[in-house]
Symmetry: C2
Subunit: 190 residues, 2 copies
DNA sequence: GTCTATATAACGATAGAC
DNA sequence: GTCTATCGTTATATAGAC
């Protein structure tokens, strides 16, 4: 991430983004609750105090990590809606979501399953709006029905990549199968 | 790493099962990492020392809780394979899995997304065998393909019930929709 | 089986110097 | 922006009495 970059509408300093980057890796490996401020500080070679200078609380770091991940999803969604037709948009979105999930593996579900974060996002308007836009592209409609389908599919992709039974599967095979099954789930050809 | 408290068949003391029961509720509400031994002890009205008398470490409690949940899945699976034909078995299993996920809501995904637990079960033979049996009934075949489908479906059900966007949905509606989408996912009629 | 009491370590968080 | 030093709290875990 470049200095002066903007994520989620907030300008990000180099120090801040180093922290977010380290925290992202640690959350994926040890979970949110299993990651301490000390671990984050050690990972980037500074003291806890230096970390606290950038973020007042641990919760702020958790939120920042989650929002950075959300920004990745938003970027994929933006590139999808830029496609000439809804069919192509859906393909780009689906493919991008699978790629994201595989690239991050453990992280996504470590975040979405964190109780604190879960309650936060349940009332976080930008998140809810993003998901609505995403489901609209994915399913072609905005309805309670489409929302459940969308939630199930994203949960399925996120959960499958970290499932104990599939940890031996290589990325390429996982990607191909996830796409195939997601298409079947959506009732798409292919 | 950790040696679990014993699975089904082995008798469990009243004190042990009270701890497991309290821990189950707390893990579902605060996550595994967010639940301390003090919280568990307080919930059943004893001291930490009493808890430690039953379980040498916190990890042992986590494993015991997970295995108790696994036993519920195994019970559903057993009642499914007792059905007269594969079609009926699949229906019973699917219905039972959805019921379990809804009844426990947050718990299932709090457990399956815990990094420590995840690594434990990835090498836990009884778990892997149970999942293989489950996927066989669900999909009618045992193959890498079926495993991914099964993992995706279980992840989808577990993830959907705790998804931020679906927390307002009542149980009956959630159940009906989950069953409908699961059937579509499996390529079943209805 | 449960208690009181305690050991030891880590936690989140802050103050103030540089 | 980073440091040393520290606060107050909580964590896991143990020892020994009842």
């Amino acid at each position: 991430m470049v200095e002066g970059a903007v994520v989620g509408g907030t300008p990000v300093s180099a120090a801040k983004s180093r922290i977010v980057s380290a925290a992202t890796a640690l959350f994926g490996e040890h979970g949110v609750g299993g990651t301490s401020l000390q671990m984050i500080a050690d990972a980037i070679g500074v003291t806890k105090a230096a970390v606290y200078h950038q973020f007042k609380t641990k919760d702020e770091i958790v939120i920042a990590v989650a929002q950075a991940e959300l920004a990745r999803v938003a970027a994929v969604l933006d590139s999808a809606v830029a496609q000439p037709d809804p069919m192509a948009a859906r393909e780009v979105l689906l493919s991008g979501m699978v790629d994201l999930a595989i690239a991050r593996r453990h992280l996504e579900s470590a975040l979405t399953s964190d109780p604190v974060l879960n309650r936060f996002f349940a009332q976080h308007e930008p998140f809810l709006t993003l998901m609505d836009r995403l489901y609209l592209v994915l399913l072609g409609e905005d309805s309670p029905d489409a929302r459940l389908s969308g939630a199930m599919l994203t949960a399925a992709i996120g959960g499958a990549v970290m499932h104990p039974m599939l940890q031996g599967l290589d990325d390429a095979a996982l990607r191909a199968q996830l796409l195939r099954l997601a298409r079947r789930f959506l009732g798409l050809p292919g």
